[in-house]
């Protein structure tokens, strides 16, 4: 199987309200020297071993569904999954 790991995060220009709330909670826990928290999404997609044009198709899946290019960026890695 081919395992694709996809990471989606908000662009830096978009305020990450959830990240801010988490940051303030971590500060409350006593960890004061925390600069920033960015919250994102993580996906694992399993494809058939003989999948052709995988990179191109994952790119399209990200653009069309997993991420909204207006507000988010994504990156992914493809690996062999035993």
């Amino acid at each position: 199987m081919k395992l694709v790991k996809v990471y989606v995060t908000l662009k830096n220009s978009v305020l990450d309200a959830q990240g801010e709330a988490i940051k303030s909670a971590i500060n409350t826990m006593g960890y004061r020297k925390l600069n920033d928290v960015h919250m994102g999404k993580y996906f694992e997609l399993n494809f058939a071993d003989d999948y052709q044009g995988l990179e191109e198709d994952v790119d399209k899946i990200c653009d069309d569904l997993l991420a909204n290019p207006n507000i988010e960026t994504y990156r992914f890695e493809i690996m062999e999954d035993a």
């Binding site: 908000l10 305020l15 309200a17 801010e20 999404k41 569904l65 909204n68 207006n70």
Partner: protein, 224 residues
């Protein structure tokens, strides 16, 4: 006029919209299932609020791939009336029929209250019954209603007079206080506030009624 209210799994303002058309302006209305593939015979499409597909992934993101959506795109491209309220607005931006996106409120809190809006543009099929710069009271109920777009998009929105409603106060951190925008052609409107919940004084405001009446007026003008 005959309106379709599109029902996605998780829509929950569909009946409010249905009654707004049937009892508010006495026009024809039907609920249309998300699995339907035709909007033939309808003059306007209304996409209701709610939590389509449980807001999984991003609000509106999964609804975009439902069977009825191709038909909504065709309908919009034909210049017919498309109105998306709340989750409907989120769906229209995810679809790319409207620019920008709706993200989590600045303070991270769900906001449920009646707010004041400024009617910025009265030269649209949705607002011709309002006075220029009129202030209206309409309820909002959203956790992800912060309108976001980049500066270039904002300039285009202003240049083409696509900003239709602005919040009088900054409730959620929206860019330029934007509460509702149209496409360039002005036949597609998306807005976070709920005009269908402001049809009678007894519920606090009837300021939403003019929006639906505007659509009818517009149609009369087009037909004449």
């Amino acid at each position: 006029m005959k309106f379709a209210v599109v029902n996605f799994p998780g829509s929950n303002c569909d009946m409010d919209l249905y009654y707004a058309i049937r009892d508010g302006i006495n026009e024809q209305v039907e609920l249309v299932d998300y699995r339907a593939t035709s909007l033939d015979g309808f003059d306007g499409v209304l996409i209701p609020g709610g939590f389509s597909y449980g807001d999984y992934l991003r609000s509106g993101a999964i609804a975009v791939h439902a069977p009825i959506v191709k038909e909504i795109i065709r309908f919009a491209n034909d210049g017919k009336i498309v109105l998306g309220i709340c989750n409907g607005f989120q769906i229209l931006t995810e679809l790319g029929l409207l620019p920008g996106a709706l993200v989590r409120n600045e303070k991270g809190r769900f906001i449920c209250e009646t707010v004041e809006l400024e009617v910025v543009n009265t030269q649209t099929p949705f607002t011709n019954e309002y006075q220029a710069n009129e202030t209206i009271k309409v309820p909002v109920a959203h956790g992800e209603g912060r309108y976001y777009c980049d500066n270039e998009t904002l300039s285009q929105l202003e240049e083409n007079e696509q900003i239709v409603f602005r919040y009088k106060n900054n409730i959620n951190g929206s860019v330029a206080l934007i509460a509702g925008v149209t496409n360039k052609q002005k036949n597609v409107l998306g807005m976070m506030p709920h005009p269908e919940r402001a049809l009678e004084e007894i519920v606090g405001s009837n300021d939403g009624l003019n929006l639906f009446q505007s659509i009818i007026n517009n149609q009369v003008r087009v037909n004449n």
